[in-house]
Amino acid sequence: MRTRVWSRHVLLLSSALLLTGCNLVQSPLNPVSPQARDLLWLFWIFSAVLAAIWLAVMLALLMSLRARRDVGTDPLAADPHRESRATMLVAGLAVATGLTVLVLTGLSFAGQRRLFGNETAAVTIRVLGHQWWWEFQYEDPDPSRRFNTANEIHVPVGQPVLIKLESTDVIHSFWVPSLMGKVDLIPGRQNILRFTAERAGIYRGQCAEFCGLQHAKMGMLVVVDEPEAFAQWRDAQVQPRLEPATDEARAGEQAFVAAPCSMCHQVRGTGAAGRNGPELTHVGSRRTLAAGTLPMSRGNLAAWIVDPHGIKPGVNMPLVKLDPGELNTISAYLEGLK
């Protein structure tokens, strides 16, 4: 009785785990770029071939366990006929193993060619990994069109994107499963990654290399826009911050620049020019807060400022001394930075 209850629990739990596969926001099973599709194709080929081999081995094992043979009087006597057949079989299997490995290697090589392709990119983004957030620098030949943002990138549909990966502290790994395979960010060197998104939508990414206390809460969003929407977004991001429209927001800006916030955060167009934390010039236009941890809202902004260590223990954002009025106006101000 007990075992039955137990096995039912295990069954329930494992079927619940299967449900996570339905999440298409962050899943390699939902490829939306040629690169991710190549990887998925490799994944299925390898899984099918290896599963077939595993099944064959298990079957052979079962058959040999069930087979009965009359050993006769001398169990050690060798039958030359049987011996030569066995030798042939083992040799044949060894050759088959070697061939399988060779074929899989060839497939893997062929399947990854597009990952390391060399097409000219329409958009180039330099990614800097920090503990525990992502800095994105959009590059442009025209210096006045360059800008920084954090934790959320927009890319146009159908245009090749080049990602340059660097780290400022420890090793991180950049992984948006629907768009590409993971590539590490290594201090002191630059890695390259390319992808072309084929369908508009929002895809979640995640740091895929353990990088410290808040590794799990180091997420990002990749928003794939139609080219016109992307151009619009880019033009807006290049601009300095929106002038605060209300008295509340104006007071918030004054408080923000005078508070410790400005030691680490930049809001272009104000005196806040710190470069140690995420750029906040257009923070209100982002969908999430604290590297994909909270949805963007005025309440969450206030919560994050009041208690960053309750939400992400160990985070580098310090607890700062603000009075309630300042907190209120600063969160209103930040929310309005669209």
Binding site: A259, P260, P313, K321
Partner: protein, 187 residues
């Protein structure tokens, strides 16, 4: 029997490895800026010497590896090295020697960072949270070897002009110090 005792002893000794530095991931709420009252001179009228008051926060920060390494990071983040170099000095005085114009205790350094000093040192009151000032001050002391070598930072992320802080030989503070060139003429 003897070997059993030896094994028990070794196992007991291994327990020492369980001792781990406590790191407070969620600092206590603010509102309490420390108000250190430290004298710069040992002299005062009357009998018992200068009246001082310290909050006791020094103990929490001085030998703590986490706070020291945070201080090392903040030293670069807040551009201390812009004037002090990586401790060797530049526009501002050197920090890795034993001379202290405004006192070499951690409380003195906290005051120096918070209030600023004449001839160039800015005041960071209200710009750097209290705990971070203490972390910076603890790290500044480790530059001249005034931090336990078991806790002081052992490596740098970039090239450094001097050995790691935990290999700095201790140089107890001497009051006074060398007047930096910027202080010789009024600005």
């Amino acid at each position: 029997m003897r070997s059993h005792a030896l094994i028990a002893l070794l196992a007991g000794a291994a327990l020492v490895g369980c001792q781990r530095e406590e790191r407070q991931a969620r600092p206590s709420p603010v509102g309490s800026e420390t108000q250190e009252q430290v004298a710069l001179a040992p002299l005062s009228p009357g009998e018992p010497g200068p009246t001082t008051y310290t909050s006791g926060k020094a103990k929490e920060f001085e030998g703590n590896a986490y706070h020291l390494s945070q201080g090392k990071k903040l030293f670069v983040w807040f551009n201390c090295n812009g004037c002090h170099g990586s401790g060797g000095g530049g526009m501002g005085p050197a920090l890795m020697d034993d001379r202290w114009i405004y006192g070499g205790s951690i409380e003195n350094i906290v005051q120096t960072i918070r209030e600023g000093r004449p001839n160039g040192m800015p005041s960071f009151r209200g710009r750097v949270p209290d705990d971070q000032i203490w972390e910076l001050a603890a790290y500044v002391r480790s530059m001249s070897g005034n931090a336990p070598s078991s806790a002081a930072p052992a490596r740098s992320d970039s090239l450094h002009s001097h050995p790691a802080e935990n290999r700095q030989s201790p140089s107890p503070p001497i009051a006074g110090g060398i007047v930096p060139p910027s202080a010789e003429k009024p600005q």
